[in-house]
């Protein structure tokens, strides 16, 4: 009698725990699905048709880029083409699916595009940052500030003879030229995807039941340092600072392994390079001490932590388990002034991870592309058999 009642008690306890766990997981996905449906409900039938693709639409799945939307048109609907309630619903959806840190990063990348629209490259004819508070106030949820008469001068030539008309006007840059699209319909059980991206941004988020997968995701910025209302903003500043700190924590022998003797001109596994696992190089994490490992995880979290906490913590657990098989490689200068962006390339690579940070040649400290991948699980294929 006693034994059977004990077994019964254990069973009940397990049941309660299982319910609680699934409750936590469901609540996160529930919220995302709820926010997604709320957004979709604000759209007209015509808009909805433009926004929702079939879940197995491979073409749409890989339609993302670091380039401005004028060069590589994104599908879906841009914030610019939304009404104010639609934009609010879209931003509310992002706030649910992303962590506060992730949302801030996304918004800062968009703000950088606003700055670029106004000021262009710092080396351009109208070089130099906008004087003091000269930058107009930008509300990430609101429409962009009016540019001073169309595109920055360095893009003026684009509309000239021989150029293509689609680059005319002010439609190349700005925080409102970010597009949202769906693959499949939001569901708590059946896998579906949310895409949000534009210039220097491509979020590809797969929601499969309680799991959320952020790979592949591209972040980038130009300018990578700018002033807004007197505040210095570096959308990818921590990616630079944390990597530099990690590099500087290495001893001489570790550094010799980590620092590659050749230049890496760009992302190796950028857009279009899905599912590729390259032979790793650099310093293997098994040769790092506990402090350095912790620093590396902190660095990885700058990408893995863009998605909401529920999904990010599962991902970090996976990456922590891979740590001994993870590599850190660096190419370029190794000393920088604190608070400035590095001009070196680096890569973090593990069995389920590729992170690349690639300064671009035109303005290495101020123009950055990064990629975040799981070559075994791009677009959450593991969970969806797609």
């Amino acid at each position: 009698m006693q034994a059977s009642s004990a077994i019964r008690r254990c069973f009940l306890l397990a049941l309660v725990i299982a319910c609680q766990r699934s409750g936590v997981a469901e609540s996160s996905t529930d919220k995302v699905v709820g926010a997604a449906n709320k957004f979709l409900a604000t759209l007209s039938d015509e808009q909805r048709q433009k926004v929702v693709y079939a879940y197995d639409d491979e073409k749409q799945r890989s339609r993302w880029s670091n380039l401005p939307t004028g060069f590589v048109p994104r599908a879906g609907i841009s914030l610019k083409d939304m009404s104010s309630p639609q934009r609010d619903a879209a931003m509310a959806l992002l706030a649910t699916v992303l962590s506060p840190m992730g949302l801030e990063k996304v918004n800062q990348i968009r703000l950088a595009d606003d700055d670029f629209k106004v000021n262009g490259s710092k080396r351009g004819p109208r070089s130099g940052p906008p004087g003091g508070n000269g930058g107009p106030p930008i509300n990430p949820n609101g429409p962009p500030p009016p540019g001073p008469g169309g595109p920055p001068p360095q893009f003026g030539g684009r509309g000239g003879p021989g150029g293509r008309p689609r680059f005319g006007g002010g439609d190349l840059f700005g925080s409102d030229l970010y597009y949202i699209s769906f693959l499949g319909n939001p569901s708590t059980t059946v896998p579906w995807m949310l895409q949000f991206g534009g210039h220097h941004l491509a979020l590809n988020i797969t929601i499969a039941g309680s799991r959320g997968v952020l790979t592949p995701t591209l972040t980038g910025a130009q300018p990578a340092t700018f002033k807004l209302n007197g505040q210095t903003i570096r959308p990818l500043g921590r990616e630079s600072d944390k990597a530099l700190a990690l590099l500087q924590s290495l001893d001489e022998k570790q550094r010799q392994q980590a620092v590659l003797n050749y230049r890496v001109a760009d992302l190796v596994l950028g857009p279009g390079q899905d599912g590729k696992k390259i032979a790793p190089e650099g310093l293997k994490v098994s040769g790092m001490n506990d402090k350095q490992r912790a620093m590396l995880l902190e660095l990885i979290a700058e990408w893995a932590g863009i998605i909401n906490e529920n999904s990010a913590s599962a991902r970090m657990t996976e990456l922590r388990a891979d740590l001994n098989e993870t590599w850190f490689a660096w190419s370029g200068p190794t000393t920088f002034e604190p608070g400035t962006n590095i001009t070196a390339y680096y890569r973090v690579q593990g069995p389920h991870l590729v992170i690349e940070y690639a300064p671009q040649k035109d303005e290495p400290a101020n123009h950055i592309h990064t990629i975040y991948r799981d070559p075994t699980n791009d677009y959450g294929r593991q969970f969806s058999n797609q």
Binding site: P153, Y262, R263, A279
Partner: protein
Amino acid sequence: MKAKLAILIATLSLGVPSFAHRLDEYLQAMIVSIEQSQIHVSMRLIPGVAVSSAVIAAVDTNGDGILSYTEQQTYAQEVLRDLSLSLDGHALQPHLRTVNFPAPADMKEGTGEIHIEFDADLPTEGPQRTLVVENHHQPRMSVYLVNALAPQDRNLRVTSQNRNQNQSYYRLEYAQASPQQDSFLLRWRSRCVTALAPFTGVPSMFRLGMRHIVEGTDHLLFLIALLLPAPLLAKRSRWGAAGSIRRSLVQIVRVVSAFTIGHSATLALGASGLVSLPSRVVEVLIAFSILVSAVHALRPLFPGREPAVAAGFGLVHGLAFATTLQNLGVGTWQRVASILGFNLGIETMQLIVVAAILPSLIILSRTPAYTAFRLGGALFAGFASLGWIIERLFNVPYLVDGLVDRIAQRGVWIAISLIVISICLWLRPTLFLSDQKMIHE
């Protein structure tokens, strides 16, 4: 220099000092995938805005603004000619597989990617391989990337990668374990199998050893007869009362161990052919050893020296074991392994038998019934041994063998009833006492 100047002029004339995308470089990114007998390379060529006209001009040789199929193929072949591929110093011949061109307009914007895929066959031999890939296509305006995919084939393992500063030179070293040559693990497995091959017969030899004891009742009878007086203390020329349990146990262990040492020695010597006696002599000697221990169980012949006697007769018994083992095994290791397995089987069975009768001996030796038991056992062993001696000496069929065998076949039941009887006898005084008590009350 000319190209650089052209780029500079183009840049200035366009008034484009900076762009959101590639400007004055021709990015050539290669991803090499290695297999056992071939490499597959995919190339992406992305001309920046400022160099795109130069690239387009190189493709569009007739200048009609259209990149025809022939022009595309010709350009791709040109790219392959500018590559240099070698494996272990031998030049490799690339075979163009696919070519894909973007619209010239996209190239002008710096967003178009030319895709070229090609294969090269590799010579198959060689466990350590060095692949060198050099890219000399448009060196003045180009930046290069080259990487290898982590090999899918588990027999291939990248051991090192080296590049020059701009990645136009790439050296990939990798280890190739061909399936025929076995991987590291397989090699070790086969080594272990070879090393353990002589021991594959050990389990069967072990079983043979055990069976030999069960069926070889003469060995058992010798041992049991020798153990019969073991718990007792010799008092002048008679067996007296039982010694302490500790002493009894020690005595039994010493006798059994001595017997083991003795027969193991001659088993090894006999099985390796170093010592041999005619089997009939051995058989008679064994029967004689039983007679000796039977007499000793009646009257102490060599009190305190049982272990020595056990070891001495053990030598004889070992020779008998060895005859079973002759003609077994070919290699030395195989013989050693066989002897080891056989002997382990003997010891195991012997220990089982001793463990089965030991409690009975110790318990019974503390009851008055033990004298009768000892005498009975000794007489049985004595007559059996006499029978065996006659049987073996004169080679005449006799009853003893069959009789003893039939008893031995019921060994388990005998051992169990022995324990039950000894416990009952041991408890009898207590039972008797309590009966009396009950009557009194």
